[in-house]
Point group: C2
Chain length 154, copies 2
Amino acid sequence: MQETPRWLDPEQKTAWDSFIRMQEKLIGRLSRRVQTDSKMSAADYIVLVKLTEAGGRLRFLELANLVEWEKSRMSHQVTRMTKRGLVAKEECLDDGRGAFIIATPAGYAAIEAAAPLHVEHVRRLFIDALTPEELSTLAQISQRVLDHMEKQPD
Amino acid sequence: MQETPRWLDPEQKTAWDSFIRMQEKLIGRLSRRVQTDSKMSAADYIVLVKLTEAGGRLRFLELANLVEWEKSRMSHQVTRMTKRGLVAKEECLDDGRGAFIIATPAGYAAIEAAAPLHVEHVRRLFIDALTPEELSTLAQISQRVLDHMEKQPD
DNA sequence: ACGAAATTGTTGACAACTCACCTATTCGCT
DNA sequence: AGCGAATAGGTGAGTTGTCAACAATTTCGT
């Protein structure tokens, strides 16, 4: 006894398809860009952005929450970034389990070199495609979807 | 002699941030969903969708183009899916270099089982968050960004 | 008809992500 | 004080993605 599935109607399907295509192409191009012009991965980039925005020193889980990654992913990432000299770990005196993640001078240098280029590409590929009204509409729509997802179970 | 970078203005930045957050959360939830309720990866899913939509038999590169992946990625993916029994390779008579990728019966079964659930989640997490007008606006905006990117170099 | 160039697809090394499980510490309750 | 639960973080195995180089055809110009 199976119901016939409720497929998306044509408008819904083309909306979904073009959203997915756009998002994939855009993210793909931007992350390849970060990679080639800064020699960092997109992951390195975003971690350094959040870390330096927050003063260059954060508890491990605070950083993970800011970037909205699960701790395991962040843990591996921090390990790799430590090897690359972009961040360092510092033990936490108040809490024997804890760790602080610190942006090293090399980390600051890397993000300061990369950020203007990245912003330029965001502008060139995305912002410039849209009018201010469209951009603001997209912001609202994104926020709507985010709010909606909060209320939904997994 | 370095110019001061042109950062995004506050509206642009919040628009960009919420778009990125939305897109990451949405894609993340959907692909975890596909994974847990169908035991396939999101990659398996999309490949099977495109392949079966196209009649269940495509030249390797046609498939790669449909999914918009580079051939190397597709090659690895096809290898894995072949191991899992979802697709099979068939040699191409006209072109000694070529290969056809075929959706196996197990592949059809898998996609037919997975698709209704997936669509349900797309609807629940995304479509239902928006009015038809918003959805149509988003489709236009996405298309605009896509068209714009076409014209831009990497 | 022949050699250069393009096309088709593969491979191997490596980086990144996920998932489940693990350790060490701290908290909270009695 | 002491014990179970919660919290902070790490680890290893397995999967997936990327990049560069590769082999095997086929195409095309002359």
